[in-house]
Amino acid sequence: MNSFFPSLVLELHNRCEKIITLLEQHELPVEIEPNLKNTIKKTISIKSNLESILADPDFGAPELLINQINRYKRCYESYSVIEKIQLPILLRYSEKDHFFHSFLKQSLAQINYKIETPLISAASTNYYEVFADKNPVFSSFFVPVVDDIFLLNLPDLFHEIGHLIFLHKENEMSYEFAIKFNDYLSSEKNRLKIQTRPFEPKFYDNLEELWKDSWVKEHTANMIATYCLGPSFGWQCLRICVNTGEDVYFPSKIITQPDDHPSFESQIQGILEILRIMGMKSEFSTLNEKWNQYKMFCHFDKPTEHDHCYPEYLMKSLAENVFQGCTKIGLKPFVSQNHIKGLINIPLTLDHSWNLFHIDPKKFLIWEESEVKNLKATLSKIP
């Protein structure tokens, strides 16, 4: 390891150097200059860290070797995020990326989330996703390559925006819920000690890990998207559920079937709860009715564990927390959106798309084509 390790450090340092040169010489539109500058800055910082490892008079000292290897690994991890995420976007920035950059910028402005626009790439092989970073310009969104010519999927971009907001404002979004969730776990674990229950203690350990690791983020991202877009996000969620053919109660037997996403049943209930809090009674009823019909037609059986994984009072508590959090940080709710002449209001356009789709799907397809052109033309005029 004594000679192999210094070579690794040297090689990674060389990569950083080459990438910095590549990025500095690469011509990019002015709109993503902050993102480019930040990536260069981050790469320079990794390079400096590697230089400090190399320049350490104790470099390779047996007493410190393990710590120096750890330092190198952290440098490699930071580097690999740049190589795998930021570089492909920056070096292959396309017309489609440019469109989505404008779309994302406008969306963030219209929901009143004031941050510098993150990177966005229309070359996802994994549907909609976000690499969320505390620093917005170092965050990156990925969207499907054809979604610049369709409208119905676009609410999912707001789910990813929700993930970014959660990362920046976790306390505002879930602090009160986290207290209630911990109380729930403690009381369930205590009940296990004094009375016979159908579950093993491990069930609640897994549940805790799943909620804290991913479910609270997924539910919060859904709820933020619903707060910003209203029912169109719920319809898109229902569509994904139908398209994937997933059992709406999966996962709930979590010991044998772990999954990163909470069950569609709980997701829809979370979305409905936000609609209810926002006072959208008729939208709540329509979505709820369609959801119940879908469950009935497909004959899904609700396992006993489901209500223990997603207790109704906790879902309501999270929805209340997210609603208050969104209000506190000044996000503009769907119910306050209004059209401004000459501008396209994205939340209202997405809502209109889904309404038209329900009323007359064939007419919607014709309208969608012209609306996409209109959207592109309008966004292209915005600096």
Binding site: D58, E63, L64, R71, R74, S78, K84, N126, K212
Partner: protein, 136 residues
């Protein structure tokens, strides 16, 4: 987790350089050494509190709890399951040695290295998990 891992590791490097009297010791300022010591004391105190909340020896010193990752705490617990009482005693000893600016014992250094390794393993694991998630 990555930042925490980096900070613990960097503090350990400073402490070990000073302890082993390595060439780089001359570049460490007294403030840097004191800060590293203080940082590790805080980490170890929070670790003790997370493993055994009923221990109140250091309650007055916890000004602002450091959020240690659950996976790190679980890993530490599992690694020392059979000898938890001794492990807690060892943690208390290293805290006191760091506080009093005393020489660290071999056992102290063993624990320091072990904590850095566990933190490193957990950070690497979460990093691998991050890429796995993205490739679904």
């Amino acid at each position: 987790m990555s930042d925490l891992s980096r900070e613990i590791n960097d503090a350990a490097i400073v402490i070990k350089k000073a302890h082993y009297n390595l060439a780089g010791k001359k570049d460490i300022s007294p403030t840097q050494l004191a800060d590293s010591r203080k940082y590790l004391i805080d980490i170890f105190i929070n670790l003790v509190k997370n493993i055994q909340p009923e221990i109140h020896d250091f309650d007055s010193e916890i000004k602002k709890p450091i959020q240690l990752p659950i996976s790190f705490i679980d890993h530490v617990k599992n690694s020392n399951k059979s000898e938890m009482t001794y492990f807690i005693e060892d943690l208390k000893k290293i805290i006191n040695h760091l506080k009093k600016d005393q020489n660290l014992s071999l056992q102290d250094l063993k624990i320091l290295d072990k904590m850095c390794s566990i933190m490193d393993e957990e950070t690497s694991a979460s990093f691998r998990k991050f890429w796995r998630k993205r490739s679904i």
